[in-house]
Each structure stands twice: as C-alpha cells, then as structure tokens.
Symmetry: C2
Subunit: 214 residues, 2 copies
Amino acid sequence: MGHKPRKEMIAETRAKLVAAARHAFGTVGYAEASMDDFTASAGLTRGALYHHFGDKKGLLQAVIAEIDAEMLARLKIVSARADTLWQGFVDECTAYIEMALEPEIQRIVLRDGPAVLGDPSQWPSQNECIRSMSENLQKLRDEGTIVAVDPEAAARLISGASLHAAQWIANSEDPEATSKKAVQAFNVLLEGLLKQSRRIGRPQAPAEIDKSLA
Amino acid sequence: MGHKPRKEMIAETRAKLVAAARHAFGTVGYAEASMDDFTASAGLTRGALYHHFGDKKGLLQAVIAEIDAEMLARLKIVSARADTLWQGFVDECTAYIEMALEPEIQRIVLRDGPAVLGDPSQWPSQNECIRSMSENLQKLRDEGTIVAVDPEAAARLISGASLHAAQWIANSEDPEATSKKAVQAFNVLLEGLLKQSRRIGRPQAPAEIDKSLA
DNA sequence: GATAATGACATACGACGCGTATGTCAATTA
DNA sequence: TAATTGACATACGCGTCGTATGTCATTATC
C-alpha cells in the first residue's frame, strides 16, 4: 500500500488539470479563466500546466478533445440502437442538437474553441463526429434511401444547421416552443435528402423526435 | 474653409477607430489585437477609444455592426434583382455563403464575435440578416411555393448550414471542388422546403448557383 | 547500493495589456 | 468674456501570461 505507481500519479495530475480547466472554461469562459486560479483549485500551479500542455491553448485542446470523445461515444450509442439506418441517422441528428444545448458544450466547443483554435472543421476531434454522420449518410446512399449527395457535405451542412438551431433554442425566451419550431423545420430540410419515391405519402414522425427534445 | 465642423471631426475619429480596429481584429484577431497598437495606427490613443466605445468589447460591437450593415445591404441587392421569390431566396443563400467565405467576416463575425459577445442570435445586427431571410420565406409560404414551416426557424437552420459550409469551403484544400459538393448538397436540403407538386420533375439549376460561387 | 540523470512539478521574474483616474485644451454657450 | 462641456491624451496600478530557474523524487547505470 502507500504510494501509487508513478504513471498513475502523472495521469491523475493531468486529469485534475483538465477537469479544473474544463470547469473554469465552461463557467467563466476561456479568456476570463485565470491559470493561477484554476490550477490552484486543483491543488497545483501553472508549472504543472506548462509542463504537460505547453500553454493555455494546449490545455483547451485537451479539454475539447475530452468533451468531443464523450460526444462521439454518445452519438455512437444513439445510432447503434435504432431500427433502421434512416431512423438512426435522424436520432443522431437529434442527439447532436440535444448535446449542443448544454451550456458547457456551447461555451467551450462552439464559441471559445473556434475563436482560440480556429475553424472546427480542421480539428481532428470534431471531425470524428462529422465522420460518424458521414458514414451513416454513405450507407443510406448505398441502400438507396437518400439521393446522390456527397456524404461529408451533407453531414457538415446538417451539423451546422443543428448547432445553430441548438444555440437559438438554448438562448430563446421559450426554449420549448422554439424547439418545436426548429425540429419541425429541421425535418422538412432532412426530407430533401429522401428520394421522391420514399418521400411521397410517407408519414413523418416529428412527434417522436420532439419528445426526446423536450 | 479651414477647420471642418465639430461633428464631422468626431465622426471621423469614430470611423478611424472602427476602421483601425476592424483591420486589427480581422488580421491578428480580437484577443491578439493591442489597443495601444491599433489606436496608434489611427493616430490616436486608447483615451479616444474608451471615450467613444466604453471598452474593447464595445468597439468590437461597433465593428460587427458595421460589417453586418454591409452584409445586409448586399443581401438586399441580391434578393431584389431576382425574377422570382424562390430564385431570390436561393440567390440570397448563395450570397450568404459567399460572404462567409471572406476571411474578415469569418474571423470577426463568425469566430471572435460569438466568443466575446455571446450567441449571435441575440445580436440586434445579425438578426437583421436572419429577418431578411425570414421575410422571404414568409412570402414564399404565402404564395404557396414552400411547405408550412416556421420562417424564422427555417432561416436560422439554413443560415447555420450556410455558415458552416462556408467555413468548410474556405479551409479546405481544394475550395472549388468542396464548393461544388457543398452547393449541391445545399440545394438538396433546400428542396425539402418545396412542395411536392413543385418539386417533382422540376429542373433544378445548380449550375447557375455554382458559377456564382466559383 | 551509490551515483548520475531524467522528469514532474513549484517558484521567481519580466513584460505586456487592460481599465481607470486624472489632466489638458478647444469649442460651445450664456 | 467667462463658464461649461466634451473630446481626447497621459499616468498609474493591477492582473495575467510565458519563461527561466530551482528543487526534489524517481529511475537508470555501474
């Protein structure tokens, strides 16, 4: 007993720094988060931070990577348990919007991240979520459910629409009503992807999507 | 002759500050732009800045308001010269993407702005562009071209998709090829808005949209 | 098993940038 | 012409970042 192995101590230090930074970035924002303050809250100093992450931006990258990994895991679960590919895709989009409603994700990933690290489409992590959606769209195209469209392009457009919808919803006066309107409009746009034959007379299921957003 | 009237001098000072800040924000970014530096480049000091704009954020607001006014003016011109409402709407979307390709707009309006001033959907200025799109969608709904959908919701989703598409295009290795893919996918999604009767067998015109993006 | 070397942190220092408080001077107003 | 307003400059203090340096434990070497 007694002391833990070295590797674990180091990993623990890293984790504590990431956790403290994540909390600070998520609440007061990246620019207002004092490195002295949140490293102290983790029982450390900036020395540890610079040793492990190089600088403040490096730490933000680590925080975002952690959040992104969590998002990807959640998306995979959602799409995996759907009955059809199309339903899985729609569910994944819905989950995407739901996640973007969380203040921590909005602040760190959607606002401060792009400002500090540049365009998110260049991040390795964010591309994971996009790639997940792209793969689903590719399969949907292969099975003939949707029209011939570039999967990555569609995925990026849809994720862009989702993210903006989420920010609109989260900051609106009546989030629930806004959510209904956004989801309905979102479904209308997604219908554009479906082939004519499938689209005509096909009952959409906005109610089901809606309840998961409430 | 001789000295200009007082009001003009003051307006000129404000304009010089906004112009200098706009250049600094657009090139090195908001956080890296030193107030001492870019006020000096305008032949002034921070004293003038604090007098007119209160603080650095206030100046960013002024810069964004200026850019947004320009964007709105450009959008109005585009939508006004179209033959049909639907064509005007599509053209406006295209113009939106084109503007979002400009580095200055990407940096100031799309990245630093949200990080410093919060969610853009809360800005008075950004809402002008959205409102312009919303009005067009409202008219399209009234004349029966598109399905029953909340105009503002659709406008926000579409603008979100446009903005992300633009960032994706601007930062891609082959912007031209990426642009083609994005525009094609964008048209597919917009088709979702059209009523079935109009959608079936209706020749789309991606070529025309495409050339304006090249 | 003693010594050297590596690495994980803490401490100390310098520089910069922001905001405010204060000062100055011209232009209006009475 | 005297008083007042307002546009701007100057001066100061404070916080924050990055780096350079120091310390101590762990690991490697013989």
